[in-house]
């Protein structure tokens, strides 16, 4: 039903100041409908939290936004322009970078080589000798600039703490100067001090106007610390859209539970 509704709607003008807009996106895998028309707006320079239970469609939505999956219907707009991603590279080309939880770094390589991985600076032409000095200097400069601290630029990623690794992974994604950054559970398995490091980094990045950020997590407390706004994904739709400073953890939880009940009722009605 919502699928048809979306297809017949003429494309409306983009919301002002939206870095990313998702309109009526649907996705099904075989008989299972995962997304039933997702509408979402990421404003310029904001940190948007996306929360939902397992199976709510969170990861499917993210995989569509980073180009891994393609939606069945609906639109994705980047900076007001309608786009359709056919691959992860495609999404990257439109300025969308994704940081997957703890998967990004090479444990055996030093921090500075991790930062330049895939874009290594070389000298002596076809010999492609690594320009270690230049990569070191630029890495140090860059990490200082975005206030990421590591014990040493030469420390292997394996020797870093979880928080430091996550910070370096985010730093690398941001180095590609994306417009939009997708962070998948950036605070997972992290102590308080560690979390603080990432929270500061993410807020700094957003405040500097470098990027607009979507944080995906199933932990509400994390999102309350990190985000300006929280969207709740339930049963394949956004059911709640709240500014963090206008709501509380309790209110949000209540909203979620009540809409969850409503959903359960609908299902039992359908079944009757």
């Amino acid at each position: 039903m919502s699928e048809q509704a979306v297809e017949t709607t003429p494309p409306a003008p983009a919301s002002a100041g939206a870095a990313l807009e998702v309109r009526g996106v649907t996705k099904r895998f075989g008989a299972i409908v995962v997304l039933r028309g997702v509408d979402l707006v990421l404003r310029q320079g904001e940190v948007l939290g996306l929360v939902g239970d397992n199976g709510a469609g969170k990861s499917t939505l993210v995989k569509i936004l980073c180009g891994f999956h393609q939606q069945d219907s609906g639109d994705v707009l980047v900076g007001g322009e309608r786009v359709r991603f056919h691959s992860v590279e495609d999404a990257r080309g439109h300025g969308i970078e994704t940081v997957y939880q703890d998967l990004a770094l090479i444990p055996q390589l030093p921090v500075y080589q991790n930062l330049f991985l895939g874009h290594e600076l070389t000298r002596m032409g076809p010999l492609r000798l690594l320009d270690k000095r230049r990569m070191r200097n630029l890495s140090r400069q860059y990490l200082d600039e975005i206030r990421v601290r590591v014990p040493s630029i030469d420390a292997e990623a394996e020797q870093l703490s979880g928080g430091q690794r996550q910070a370096v992974a985010v730093a690398r994604a941001v180095r590609a100067a994306p417009k939009i950054l997708l962070l998948d559970e950036p605070l997972a398995a992290m102590g308080a001090r560690e979390s603080l490091l990432i929270i500061e980094l993410v807020k700094d990045l957003a405040a500097s106007g470098r990027v607009s950020i979507i944080v995906i997590d199933h932990n509400y407390a994390h999102l309350f610390e990190l985000c300006d706004r929280i969207n709740v994904l339930q049963g394949g739709r956004i059911t709640t859209d709240q500014l963090v400073h206008e709501t509380s953890l309790e209110t949000l939880t209540e909203l979620m539970v009540s809409s969850y009940r409503r959903e359960l009722d609908e299902i039992s009605d359908d079944g009757a």
Binding site: V88, Y100, L103, A104, L105, I106, P107, Q108, L109, Q113, L117, G118, H119, E120, T122, L127, R128, L129, L130, R147, R149, V150, P151, A155, E158, Q159, L160, S161, G162, G163, Q164, R172, R193, E194, L196, L197, E200, K203, F224, E225, D228, V244, H245
Partner: protein
């Protein structure tokens, strides 16, 4: 919450303020040195063995004949181990490199027998070796066949080809007669390509240095480590992981084939019954002794070379002090297990030394 007190700008995790890291003691620094310079342990063991045999066997061990025979054992193992390390760092393996080492000289001989000049037959033999490596690599990354299986099969195929096309008769490798100049002296090229007793081991030293620089100083090297250390992460960062793997297989075959040509000249005969697996098992052993784990992401070319030297000295030395060759195998086994256990412990220590 969001507009609350701004956190101090400097809040680096792992370095709580006022809690300075203790200055590392001497013992700590020595341990770190051994942890991160994996070649150090096999170098010390090799040196120890050298001294031991020099004392036990005296000048019979340290004379030129003995040392060149140790180098003779170490040469083929080292040549194969140097290329093999690159694949082990990639978390792959090439079990056919030993057979490529032998196959290369046969191809050279067959082409030369067809009337090609020796420089051309040698070059084409190396091209064939690269082709074998490319096939190994492409089957592994395109058909998703584990490289252990791909190269095991390739080993049998090459062995079979040698048996078929040699009619199971021995041959003398081309160059010796070619390299002799009219006045009976062997030409410079002949000396370089195997006639001079030290030429093979010097080739191995040369390729070890080149491969070491490749792994530690070039973009290709970083990409090998990245691909072997975290395949998914490397691919996401834009490393062409499949291409890196295929080139590493090509390089491994090329290096084995190159020194294989030299080795054939050195020994002056080709035996179709030689089985490459004999070499490859020593070579993988040399890599392990040298400090390369088989888990990918870590490895040292210099270590693999040292490992080959260690095996060479062990074989030569045990023979000279009158220990039977059967004991040699027991010793090689013991050293390999010891080295691997040490590697695993070192890795655990590195993991435990994480900040946090």
């Amino acid at each position: 919450m969001t507009s609350g007190a701004p956190a101090p700008p400097a809040a680096p995790a792992g370095h709580p303020p006022g809690q300075q890291r203790p200055h590392p003691s001497l013992g700590h620094r020595v341990l770190r040195l051994f942890l991160y310079q994996r070649e150090l342990t096999p170098i010390l063991i090799t040196a120890g063995l050298f001294v031991y045999f020099a004392i036990r066997a005296g000048s019979t061990f340290t004379d030129q004949l003995s040392l060149s025979s140790a180098a003779g054992y170490a040469g083929p193992i080292g040549a194969i181990a140097v290329g093999e390390v690159l694949l082990l760092v990639l978390a792959e393996i090439d079990l056919s490199a030993g057979q490529v080492f032998l196959f290369s000289a046969w191809v050279n001989w067959w082409l030369y027998s067809e009337g090609l000049p020796v420089w051309l037959s040698m070059s084409l033999a190396l091209v064939v070796c690269c082709g074998v490596g490319a096939i190994n690599g492409l089957i592994t990354v395109r058909l998703n066949v584990p490289s252990f299986v791909t190269t095991l099969a390739m080993n049998f195929i090459l062995y079979g080809l040698v048996l078929i096309y040699s009619n199971y008769t021995q041959a003398s490798p081309v160059p010796l007669s070619q390299y002799a100049s009219p006045n009976g002296h062997v030409s410079f090229a002949g000396q370089v390509f195997g006639v001079w007793q030290w030429s093979e081991i010097l080739w191995v030293v040369a390729i070890a240095i080149v491969a070491h620089l490749l792994l530690t100083r070039t973009r290709f090297g970083v990409r090998i480590i990245a691909t072997g250390g975290n395949l998914v992460g490397a691919a996401e960062a834009g490393v062409p992981v499949r291409r890196v793997k295929v080139w590493a297989f090509v390089l491994c075959s090329f290096l084995a084939g190159l020194v294989g040509l030299v080795d054939a000249v050195k020994y002056g005969s080709l035996d179709p019954g030689n089985f490459g697996v004999d070499y490859i098992l020593y070579a993988v052993g040399a890599c392990v002794i040298g400090g390369t784990a088989l888990t990918g992401g870590r490895g040292t070319v210099i270590g693999a070379f040292i490992g080959a030297i260690l095996i060479g000295i062990l074989e030569d030395g045990l023979t000279l002090i009158g220990v039977s060759t059967n004991d040699f195998f027991v010793w090689v086994g013991v050293v390999i297990i010891f080295a691997m256990a040490l590697n695993v412990q070192f890795d655990r220590l590195i993991a435990r030394s994480r900040a946090a």
